[in-house]
Amino acid sequence: MTQIGPDETIWHYDGSNATRHHPALSWNADGFSLHWDGGGSGPHRWSDLMPMTGTAGRSLYGLRGVSGWRLGFAGLPPEAFAVHLPLVARYGRWIDRMGLWRAVGLFGVVAVAVVFVVLRAPQWLAPLVPQSWENRLGDAMVGDFGGRLCETPRSAAALAKLQSQLGKDVPIRQIGIANIGIVNAVALPGGRILIFSDLISEAKSPDELAGVLAHEIGHVRHRDTLTALVRQLGLSVVLGGFSGDVGGTVNGLLAMSYSRDAERAADSYSIDALRGANISPLPTAAFFKKLGKLSGGDAIERSMSWMGSHPVSSEREKAFTASAVKGHAYRPSLSPAEWQALVNACAEDKDVAPPTKMLF
């Protein structure tokens, strides 16, 4: 039996009230006990002592099963006593066991692997999802688009003609014109493509529309929308550990629509489809030239392009221009009457909901 104290550098709370005691400590190989005037605690086993962390140069111990029981030392406990004590936890049990730097290295490698898989896996997973699931998902998400689709019998016929020329074997379920003031078109899950009305009203010719439409058909063919959805879902799960803002920002940056590879692939699908249908790619090239000007010119776009998902407009313009065969007799994708049917679709459709800004 060894004994020290009592003195001011050793204190004790028994957890039943706030009175501070300065006990004498006595111990042997199995355990220890505390004694003070009018009271005592123990004997307790060494293994019931729990180190309390973060205590400003003081050493503080709790007792398993007794809330508020504390034994404190100013500075380190006497050495003969300390040899029996457990080590103080620092970063958390796993990390303490491994050591900080090994833990950082290990976690880092795992984190990079997880992010890599989450970014890559959608491309492997999306093709495995049955088309019927994707269709149902798309229906649930979009439905009839709240009655904002413009359609007349003649515009439907014109769109059907474009579809048969540009995407005969692609599982497209609908191509619609949405009464929304955006110069763009989107592919949606479930083989739907929406052309926003301003894309048609701004287009110089049906061939320009054909090039953009073929690009979206490329997305449908490669199932890029589903890939993007799966990726976004995965990222929000993986980054859920960060507090709201950080996770959201990173998620937004990484998940931004399709990957650039997917955009290139959709462009090359478009080029092939135009060639197959004997439609000139030059109007589409002109469209990208216009787009490049809108986004501030080549230099600005190039400097921003590391974060953008689309290839730089000038590169796309070049690719479409290069695919044109000089002196070749292309034919227009639509007759003037068919083109007019598309241009006037929203004006002539009496049931369509009024034009709106996009909700999302």
Partner: protein, 358 residues
């Protein structure tokens, strides 16, 4: 217990001592894709609490990262998934034209979130008190906060009546309700702050629109016509635009300043109304102190290109403790162990709504 001018609360930490904790927390949080942040919070609190002295003894934080993590998982399972569905579901409903259904569902979801935020505020306080030890004694509450959630909803709702003039009442009354249900050891807190003391400060908010209207009227009546005549055109000249810009700027500077001034007064009054058996609490941070704290925060974050943000918790806690004081006496022998049930998990709810301050 502040005889001889010594304050009951003192903070003894230094940022140099805290820096290794802050930086390793940041590093580990990054490499674990954020999961470590619960353990990081715990380490930060262990440090801050242990450097905080109350009378003759330091506080002690006994919460664990695992608790916070479990709280987070619970919230994720119970509320996160349904909300995710509602978020995407609402969009789908709107797109498909079910506007009525979408709005009523959205309304229900909003009300539910609002109710839960009230519960979360209550449980956050309860959790923190139950994990804070002093002289081997902890705090807590026997109330689970479900009733407080309803108070939170209806009092905030009533607070919006009469041009939001009842907001001060709602804030103080909720503070009092929350703290009255808390205890430390065997003693219950008493919270008796009065909204009357913060009402005048609150009226400052109503000054801004008046100033704004006065500014616009002035510009319209005097500045614009004379300037228009001078330029001889029918279009308002640049000086008119500048006048509007100045008015807007005044509003954007004035509103946050008033908010700071109001919050400073609110916290002084709210904490000033708190007592525990023989102890009365005081908080003496004035608008100027808050203003310097916020300026310091902004400066620190900008100068360090954002890295300094990891020291904000430290700064805020130090600010809080430095301005906190207590007078009166407490009998250590009578301060017996709390019999309240210690909550099993951490601040999951509050965490999910991003309401944790420290």
């Amino acid at each position: 217990m502040s005889e001889q001018g010594a304050r009951a609360f003192g903070f003894e930490g230094t940022w140099r001592e805290y820096a290794p904790i802050a930086f390793t927390n940041l590093l580990l949080t990054i490499v674990t894709l954020g999961i470590y942040r619960f353990w990081a919070t715990t380490r930060t609190r262990q440090y801050l609490w242990s450097r905080t002295r109350f009378i003759d003894e330091h506080l002690e934080w006994t919460g664990t990262g695992k608790e916070l993590f479990i709280g987070f998982l619970l919230v994720l399972a119970l509320f996160g998934l349904p909300f995710l569905f509602i978020q995407f579901g609402l969009q789908a409903l709107l797109l498909q034209g079910y506007v009525g259904v979408a709005f009523s569902l959205g309304f229900v979801a909003f009300g539910w979130i609002f109710y839960l935020s009230g519960v979360a505020l209550f449980r956050m306080l309860r959790y923190r008190l139950s994990r804070t030890f002093w002289h081997g004694i902890r705090g807590g509450s026997d109330d689970k906060g479900w009733g407080y959630g309803w108070s939170y909803v209806w009092k905030n709702f009533v607070g919006s009546f009469a041009l939001y003039l009842l907001v001060p009442w709602a804030m103080i009354s909720l503070w009092n309700e929350r703290w009255s249900k808390m205890s430390f050891g065997p003693f219950e807190f008493s919270a008796t702050a009065s909204e009357r003391e913060i009402f005048k400060r609150f009226l400052l908010f109503y000054l801004v629109p008046l100033v704004l209207i006065a500014g616009v009227v002035f510009a319209a009546l005097f500045a614009a016509p004379s300037a228009m005549q001078a330029s001889g055109g029918s279009e308002p000249p640049a000086s008119f635009g500048i006048a509007i810009l100045l008015t807007m700027l005044a509003v954007y500077v004035a509103l946050p300043l008033i908010a700071v001034a109001f919050y400073a007064k609110y916290l002084r009054v709210a904490i000033g109304g708190l007592s525990l058996e023989g102890l009365d609490f005081h908080f003496d941070a004035r608008t100027k102190d808050w203003f310097m704290l916020i300026l310091g925060d902004i400066g620190l974050v900008i100068v360090t290109l954002g890295i300094g943000a990891i020291f904000l918790n430290y700064r805020h806690w130090k600010f809080f403790v430095t301005h906190l004081d207590a007078t009166g006496e407490i009998s250590l022998a009578q301060l017996t162990q709390s019999t309240t049930a210690a909550p099993g998990q951490g601040e999951g709810l509050a965490d999910a709504f991003d309401m944790g301050a420290i």
